[in-house]
Symmetry: C2
Subunit: 343 residues, 2 copies
């Protein structure tokens, strides 16, 4: 079934099968994969295509140190098939600004071909002055950006691959005290990215309990020979809600009632707390409003409320009110004692 017009398509398939640099693919493997997809082609043709057609027109390299040659794409080459349009490129730029503070640099780096692609498009477009756009677009992160924990590129590659392909990994892990390195075989069950750190949820080989491993403390990771052990009843959402990351959440929502100052009212009118919120002006107050909303009963919401400081007075639920009050009292106590006896 070597229909003639297949040529273009076959080239495209080849280009898709050749991985970006850290990866490589050997000629016979490529032939095999092409055959799987219906392109039965002679080995010789493949060789010709690679060494004469593709590698002269594309940033494709060849590792000819071993005999079945290995082919790979330049690390940062990228080509979108329908090219990016302007709005998408702008969105990518915004996305990058946000993600830089949220994900470890290496992980964002994983997407760098996309981002550079977007930047190039924008640069090319405003032919007059280059990088005009860079002076015009900003993302202001939601909270304070801590410095994301560095993780090793190879680690990320291995761990993410192991998780998704359901394999075990052998890791060398730096324990929290930072003094002892230990070797484990882990059975990955999930990944949670939170704040600026990323954690692998896994069983240690031979144990039943799930533990968290900070990826930036993994010194080395390789796919393991051990068969992967699945935890059948694992539910990552349950796990998180269970409080494992300090985000305990009771299953049900609560009704939040609070008085809020004008700036908060404005903010919430634009970006509501929930889709059932109501805000009503309070009479006889200097610009205060009554807020009612169904919100999840979790740590995040409580923090947000506390972050608003004196601009918000929580009336219900009672528990939150108590917490906030106790919190303020404690803080005050700190500063009161500290100013007199600051030892």
């Amino acid at each position: 079934m070597s229909e003639p017009r297949d040529t273009l398509f076959r080239y495209l398939t080849m280009l898709q099968l050749i991985p970006r640099f850290p990866g490589r693919i050997a000629t016979p493997v490529l032939k095999e994969k092409l055959a799987e997809r219906g392109f039965n082609i002679d080995t010789r043709s493949l060789q010709r295509d690679l060494s004469q057609k593709l590698s002269t027109q594309f940033p494709i390299g060849c590792d000819d140190s071993q005999k079945p040659y290995r082919w790979y794409f330049d690390r940062d080459f990228q080509c979108q098939l329908p090219a990016l349009d302007v709005p998408s490129a702008l969105t990518l730029v915004l996305a990058e600004e946000y993600l830089k503070g949220l994900l470890p640099p290496v992980v964002v780096g994983q997407l760098s071909p996309h981002f550079t692609d977007a930047r190039k498009l924008l640069d090319d477009m405003s032919a007059n002055g280059l990088s005009q756009w860079a002076r015009k677009v900003r993302a202001i992160p939601n909270g304070k950006a801590l410095i994301p924990a560095e993780i090793n590129e190879a680690t990320w590659q291995t761990i993410s691959q192991a998780l998704l392909e359901q394999k075990a990994v052998d890791v060398i892990y730096l324990s929290r005290t930072s003094h002892s390195e230990k070797a484990f075989t882990l059975h990955p069950q999930g990944i949670v990215s939170r704040h600026s750190a990323t954690y692998l949820l896994a069983h240690v080989d031979g144990f039943k309990d799930l533990r968290q491993f900070a990826l930036h403390r993994v010194k080395q990771a390789t796919l393991s020979q051990q068969p992967w052990q699945e935890q059948h009843d694992f539910d990552i959402d349950e796990y998180i809600k269970g409080g494992a990351f300090g985000y305990r959440q009771r299953p049900s929502d609560v009704v939040l009632e609070a008085d809020i100052a004008k700036p908060v009212a404005w903010l919430l009118q634009e970006t509501p707390l929930s889709d059932t919120q109501s805000i009503e002006a309070l009479p006889d107050t200097d610009g205060w409003y009554r807020l009612t909303a169904h919100v999840p009963d979790d740590q995040q919401t409580l923090w947000w409320l506390m972050g608003m400081g004196p601009n918000i007075k929580v009336a219900a639920p009672q528990a939150w009110r108590e917490t906030i009050k106790a919190n303020a009292e404690q803080m005050l106590a700190h500063y009161a004692t500290e100013s007199s006896s600051s030892s």
Copy 2:
């Protein structure tokens, strides 16, 4: 210069020049653009390629209601040239989870071809059970996720394009009080995305001052005939630092000194506040540490400190200490009065 092996390359260029659906491109325009890029080809060949080669192998549509036919890609088709690898796909999934809470849905939607691509890869990969990965990966946002303000897709397209191509726009804008719609001609100077709302910074036609326009209050936007007015000395970072978004920042850093409880110390050891921070255990305290760090003197940092509540005691700078103390006092005052009057 019709070197023979150009064919593949020409096809690729064509595929890049054909825009995704909302856009369309007419055959003669395509010919023109190809010529610009060095592909001088007969119109007939172009037509043949489009109607016989590409549109049978790719999700490409044709609007033949008017005579110069218009061609376009299916709305959600996407093809990465070096195909996505597993780690990149996983990163995209994480990125999407974060961005959903940060950018308006339509803007994230702009990237949906990328995300669906990633999901498809992951689904295909774990051939055994579909969407395995979806049960294994979570991103926990940094702060409380408010509901992102909805904006109109056409609005985003028009505004972003106008900003980047330096054009004026005619908009119909719903004023903050939500009752009156007004028509303006705006001269876009920048876009700021913050929390879950996105703002256009622009001059109103005929005025010199810069104003903020929330994109979700723009009811309609079209490119204007008016020539674009630039504000030459505009610097978006200065503007933001000036406090326009409630993030006043003094130019210099300050030295933060504070006592922090053990959990905070752990957090900061993993994801530091700044690259100069030091954390030392305090003797004779039950797990408290002394933190010293150079941090920017901005609202964000102050909020973060306040968010830590009683787990952190700020010693310097003095101004922050006062602010936090005053804050706690005010809050306590709220609850003290309210608990006596409202219960």
